[in-house]
């Protein structure tokens, strides 16, 4: 009989919801949710883990929104902006700047945006931030000039100050840009004219080169009519895209004598001010008609496969307003992400464009189970030797394994902890590297790491940042690293020579099987693990002697303190007149056996009712 024909359904083709059912290539997915598109396949996405939680001004008021995240490269730090609103307790009702390590830990309050006449608005207040010439600049993305805060700047010492300029000849005054970005070594700011003509939504100002604190009154562009504000300016290679809601301009030039502006795209702009991101020289933006890409000329539609005008995929979380969405590029996963947080539901719908093959971008959906208001990439750059050290607490043996615990002393948060293990009088071997995380951590060393029963184990820890190792820790550890504080990074323990017996052994189940008119009885036994790894052996004998018992079942230990049961053992003839004994014992991964204990005494003649 000939083989039947087959048709392939590869998952990695990316979404196509718009084409008719008889014309799409076989296997093009109709829905891909919470997966990332790869070559010919999709991968289940990973989740979200909390790096820090912000308590405003360290005064006990939880921030209401994290509204901006970015790197501060000149300072080797990450930065975030947190907001708090009226009615959310008695917090400061403000917008605060926080710095943190490049791994997102150890947040430190830096300062705030000055109080305006009105407080920030839940789910609405947004921030633009950029770094120019070793300074950060933050502008509040607020369309109403009366409610907009003064643009703030932060230097590498984390001193916060107002951005000021004399833009109308009447003296130096605070600048209130709606947004800021970096172009070459200029600071570009938009949405502000001057102190006497502040509300200029179409104006785009540029600083002096290499001097982002100085603005000349005549150094500006006007992007189209005043009635439609500039929403975002995104630097590209040798130019800047200036995006409004329904049109896009391009700013070119390298200095004030050759700066030009021209209308690039008369139809499309951005549906929300943060819905644009530049990737490898192209601008990916979400227009009022959906996603588009600007590659130098007018934009090109990317949204056809999403069929945004059609019905949404079944059960996909409701999108938040487009005006408050954001776009970001994940360089590790080659993903352009357009996210639309639904603050009421506490979830986020995101459209993810995989650029693993830039010539064939492919879509999938993400449904984050949290409302996400902002995103940013922080760059971990090795910037010198660590200053701190891991302070070990005494080692503990847990079920034949070694539990290593330590406190992180003076860690910046971007270090790696190296774990070195020496067994007996042998040499140290590096067995593990883990990222510094929080104030204290622990790791369990297993047989695979070299842990054996009945031996002295010495564990030494040190910090490393990139190729930098803290002073005194360099080279290979011998007997610790020799200094006083480093001695705190070394601990020893002698492991027990054999595991202890399983706890609470007992019979847990019984059955009788009839085969050929004869009845056979089998039982299960249970116990509580007193080891964290290895196996539990179940033995049977017709005399009460574990030493001569026969192995009947082996169960992998599921964890210390957990209760487990064997499979069926026995199959003893109920008319045999023999009493059987069932024993259990632990065996460590290293092979060491513990004592066997009696779990059940079985007389098959009694049946299961006994």
């Amino acid at each position: 009989m000939p083989d039947r024909p087959t048709v392939r359904l590869p998952f990695g083709a990316g979404l196509n919801r718009s084409a008719g059912p008889y014309v799409v290539p076989p296997g093009v997915p109709r829905t891909l949710r919470d997966v990332l598109v790869e070559e010919g396949r999709v991968e289940a996405r990973k989740g979200l883990t909390t790096a820090v939680e912000i308590t405003l001004q360290n005064a006990g008021y939880a921030a209401q929104d994290i509204i901006h995240v970015m790197a501060f490269r000149a300072a080797g730090r990450g930065m975030l902006v947190a907001a708090d609103y009226p009615g959310a307790g008695s917090g400061p009702n403000g917008i605060e700047f926080w710095r943190m390590s490049v791994t997102g830990f150890t947040p430190v309050y830096v300062g705030l945006m000055p109080s305006p006449t009105t407080p920030p608005k839940p789910g609405v207040t947004r921030i633009f931030g950029t770094e120019v010439w070793s300074r950060l600049f933050y502008a509040q993305d607020e369309p109403e000039i009366a409610e907009r805060r003064t643009t703030r700047t932060i230097n590498t010492s984390f001193v916060v100050s107002d951005l000021t300029a004399n833009l109308d000849g009447a003296g130096v005054a605070p600048v209130k840009f709606r947004g800021v970005c970096r172009y070459l070594d200029y600071l570009i700011g938009w949405g502000f004219g001057s102190a006497s003509d502040a509300d200029r939504p179409e104006a785009i100002r540029v600083s002096l080169p290499n001097d982002p604190l100085t603005f000349r009154p005549t150094h500006y562009w006007l992007a189209g009519p005043r009635s439609e504000p500039v929403l975002n300016c995104v630097p590209g290679p040798g130019f800047v895209w200036a995006l409004k809601e329904t049109e896009t301009y391009i700013l070119r030039g390298t200095n004030s004598r050759n700066f030009t502006i021209e209308l690039l795209d008369p139809r499309f702009g951005l549906a929300g001010s943060h819905l644009a991101v530049q990737v490898e020289g192209e601008l990916f933006g979400w227009s009022r008609q959906g996603p588009r890409v600007w590659s130098g000329g007018a934009s090109v539609d990317l949204g056809l496969p999403l069929d945004l005008g059609g019905p949404d995929p079944e059960d996909l979380v409701a999108s938040g307003e487009a005006a408050y969405g954001w776009a970001e590029y994940d360089a590790v996963r080659r993903l352009v992400i357009f996210a639309f947080p639904n603050r009421d539901l506490g979830k986020t719908r995101a459209y993810c464009l995989s650029r693993r093959d830039p010539s064939n971008p492919r879509w999938s959906y993400i449904e984050w189970q949290r409302a996400l208001m902002s995103a940013g990439t922080i760059y971990a750059v090795a910037s010198g030797a660590p200053n701190g050290y891991p302070d070990q607490t005494p080692l503990a043996e847990v079920g034949g394994e070694v539990l290593v615990s330590w406190n992180n002393v003076s860690a910046a948060g971007d270090e790696v902890v190296e774990i070195w293990l020496k067994v007996g009088a042998g040499a140290y071997n590096k067995v593990r590297e883990v990222a510094v995380s929080g104030a204290s951590q622990s790791e369990t060393l297993h047989a695979a790491d070299g842990v054996i029963a009945g031996a002295l184990h010495t564990v030494a820890l040190r910090y490393r940042r990139g190729s930098y190792i803290a002073s005194g820790y360099a080279g290979t550890v011998t007997s610790g690293w020799g200094l006083t504080e480093i001695a705190q990074s070394v601990e020893s323990i002698t492991t027990a020579s054999a595991p202890t017996a399983p706890g609470s052994p007992s019979q847990t189940d019984c059955r009788i099987t009839t085969i050929g008119g004869k009845q056979y009885l089998s039982v299960k036994v249970g116990w509580t693990n007193t080891v964290g790894a290895g196996t539990t052996e179940v033995l049977t004998n017709d005399v009460n002697d574990a030493a001569t018992a026969t192995l009947a079942d082996t169960v992998t230990v599921s964890g210390l303190g957990l209760t487990q049961a064997s499979g069926w053992v026995g199959g003893w003839l109920t008319t045999g007149g023999v009493i059987y004994y069932v024993f259990v014992r632990h065996r460590l991964p290293t092979g060491e056996l513990g004592p066997a204990v009696l779990a059940a005494t079985v007389n098959p003649a009694d049946g299961c009712e006994a």
Partner: protein, 172 residues
């Protein structure tokens, strides 16, 4: 011991709304403790064309994973999900995948059939017949929370037999 990229020089962080957490994106098996369930639904295939009919016999699903997870495969015949609702029989199949210490690729055979009921009592299943229709699609979804490790939906293959092909369309 570790890949040169292990220290993740580019980490995407996302800021919470209606909350005060900064999250590491694409990290961990759940969203800050809330489970999510990956899902893929293919477009329908119609090997016999828009007016033809096929017998669909088997789906072969290839999955790579290191995590332990349960997947559910639901056949969608001519636009109807056979999940036991809306007058359909429940033809969903569970695939229980055990965790593995390394990425492991496995192929799973999912037979496609529908029940034939006793004509008298209408509830007793007396036989099963392969699915027959014009278009078949496939829904694959995780039904248990993800755990540490990886999960990939690699490929699916549908085995079929054309009962009769599409009729040629007369043109002027």
């Amino acid at each position: 011991m570790t890949a040169p990229l292990a220290e993740a020089p580019l980490q995407l962080f996302v800021g919470q709304g209606n909350g005060n957490a900064l999250f590491k994106a694409f990290d961990g098996p759940d969203d800050d403790g809330a489970a999510f369930y990956p899902l893929a639904e293919t477009a329908a295939v119609a090997p016999a064309g828009s007016s033809g009919e096929c017998i669909f016999t088997t789906i072969f699903l290839a999955v790579t994973r290191s995590m332990g997870v349960t997947l559910r495969v639901t056949p969608i015949l001519d636009g109807r999900r056979y999940d036991g609702t809306d007058g359909t029989s429940d033809e969903r199949k569970q695939l229980v995948l055990a965790p593995s210490s390394e990425r492991t690729t496995t192929a799973h055979e999912v037979p496609l059939s529908l029940p034939l009921y006793d004509p008298v009592d209408l509830v007793t299943e007396v036989a099963r017949l392969n699915m027959r229709g014009q278009r078949l699609a496939l829904l694959v979804e995780a039904t248990t929370p993800l755990t540490d490790g990886d999960l990939f939906f690699e490929d699916a293959v549908v085995e079929y037999e054309v009962v009769f092909p599409s009729l040629p369309v007369a043109t002027a």
